[in-house]
Amino acid sequence: MNSFLQDSVFFGVFISIVTYEIGALIKKKWNVAIFNPLLISIALIMIFLLVFDVEYETYEYGAKYLSYFLTPATVALAVPLYEQLEPLKKNWKAIMAGILAGALTSAVCVLVMSILFRLTHEQYVTLLPKSITTAIGMGLSEELGGIVAITVAVIVVTGIVGNMFAEGICRLFRITDPVAKGIGIGSASHAMGTAKAMEMGEIEGAMSSLSIAVSGLLTVIISILFSHIY
């Protein structure tokens, strides 16, 4: 099995897309945050590799070509950011302050809890990018010397947590303004939270997607500074 699959460049790409589509179908049928297509795809591929005793390298041999497009795709995030320019201009002080406060809260929280749990520097920088979009978080984790695979898992699960509890958290903190809700959700839980924000309303969705890019950029700078603290 290994030797045949090893020769097939397309196996990795093929199984990635098939499992992702299965995930998308499941998500469509039961609209629950935990049924995230990305999570389902990753889980199914892991099960496949374990059951058929296929090496990760065999999968990665073809699948790595998928990752090659991550850098240009991240650059392309400039387009949705540009489209949010008008709403940003209207409330820019409140929005920038809110996103900055969120990014700082995330870094301080990870720092304090990493010290409490006595994590290593490598584990600490792995967690620093947890609230931002995977595209930026992956690159950041790599730059800081973190364990990229764990960063990806943590980002995805953070997004699911944010998606599931967004409404409850807004109620808990008495956040009633749609702009503030969107900023909070996007700052804490990137694209997966934004999916929830879009269900909550148009302003919430637009503000949440704006926070993805801005928070990602701010977190890069904050994380680099914070990586020297511990």
Partner: protein, 126 residues
């Protein structure tokens, strides 16, 4: 040809980002330089939205696929994650709740303070 031309423009910015990443001695990922450069070019009008829009949206739509290999790599790094599973879970939940609460609350506080939202029900300021 439309998609190809748009991809070319995006790749030019990507490449410019990689050059900056190589030249500037900071830990900023190449993609971030590219993102900022493309955003600046759009704001300044060097690049018009229709020159990149379709390909950019296509790339963003298929982006989740690009994370799958890194996620599956967890099989390899499971040994690194296992001993810190509980701290990681705790950090994830606590910080997600706090980040969402704080950034939403600060945004709301400043907007209420600026008087832009007179009807806002928020009483406390951050």
């Amino acid at each position: 040809m439309k998609y190809l031309k748009q991809l070319l423009i995006i790749l030019i910015f990507t490449f410019a980002g990689e050059i900056l990443h190589y030249v500037v001695p900071l830990q900023i990922p190449a993609s971030i330089y590219g993102l900022v450069l493309l955003f600046a070019a759009l704001v300044l009008g060097f690049i018009k939205l229709p020159q990149v829009e379709e390909t950019a949206k296509l790339l963003i739509e298929v982006m989740p696929l690009m994370f799958i290999p890194a996620g599956v790599a967890l099989l390899e790094s499971w040994g690194d994650l296992k001993p810190i599973l509980i701290p990681v879970a705790a950090i994830m939940v606590v910080s997600t709740v706090l980040v969402m609460g704080v950034s939403g609350k600060v945004t709301q506080g400043i907007m209420t303070h600026a008087g832009k939202k007179q009807k806002g029900e928020a009483k406390d300021h951050e």
